[in-house]
Amino acid sequence: MENPLTIIDMARSLTRHAATRQALITENVANADTPNYRARDVLPFADLYRAPGEAERATAFKPIATRAGHTGFQTDASGIPGLRQMEALAISQVGAESPNGNTVAVEDQLGRAAEARLNHEMALGIMQKSIGMLRAALGRP
């Protein structure tokens, strides 16, 4: 059985991802007429999220080294399930660049914003349902 807390963690990661995207997209739209501004966005959630596999689930409570000073633990931090560092990357789109060096296409940004909003709503819905399930398991209405 899938641990419901994994689902909550996943939903939380998706919420964070959607919020970060929303912030970047709004910044792009606000700067739609700024000369030399480059539009930015983050990679899709699927590329940034790592779901816990069998191996991670078995060693879920094993300590790992997250700083240089920690010794005697597993050092490979890339194996940690969860959301990886979200890096804002420049969007490259053919034909979006204006003569003043601005690469924001407002229509494209609005499409991305709709996507971010949908993901955010979905994640919040999943979180709410999972909390409901936990509540039901505890025998509370």
Binding site: E27, V29, V106, R117
Partner: protein, 129 residues
């Protein structure tokens, strides 16, 4: 949540800058018949606002240095011996196009602001239950 706040700050700065731009466009149109008037232009700049938001501010107001229109009106007290005087260099078509672009960007910023607020609201809604 701080991302959504950041987003609202950026959207506000966007609307603010477009408002300034629209004001200058209105001033240009109002002065289209003022002798010797040069149209005002601004260029936006990207700045770091609170919460590290990449906000936008209107840059310095500059005057368009292009040639003024020469108006032939010998009866005008400003006219020189050939009957010409300098009008303004405001082109109504250019101003209208600029206003349209500004409005479009303003509306996009407003829409993004409302969406960020909606997302923040649904987050609070989850906490309330």
């Amino acid at each position: 949540m701080s991302d959504l706040m950041r987003s609202m700050i950026a959207a506000t700065s966007g609307m603010d800058s477009q408002t300034t731009r629209l004001r200058l466009i209105s001033e240009n149109i109002a002065n289209i018949d003022t002798p010797g008037y040069r149209r005002k232009t601004i260029s936006f700049e990207e700045v770091r606002a609170q919460s590290d938001a990449r906000a936008v501010i209107p840059g310095q107001v500059r005057l368009d240095r292009s040639e003024l229109e020469r108006v032939y009106e010998p009866a005008n007290p400003l006219a020189n011996e050939d009957g010409y005087f300098d009008g303004s260099n405001v082109d109504l078509i250019v101003e209208m196009a600029d206003a349209r672009e500004s409005r479009r960007s303003y509306e996009a910023s407003l829409r993004m602001f409302e969406q960020s607020r909606g997302m923040l609201n649904s987050l609070f809604e989850l906490m309330r239950r």
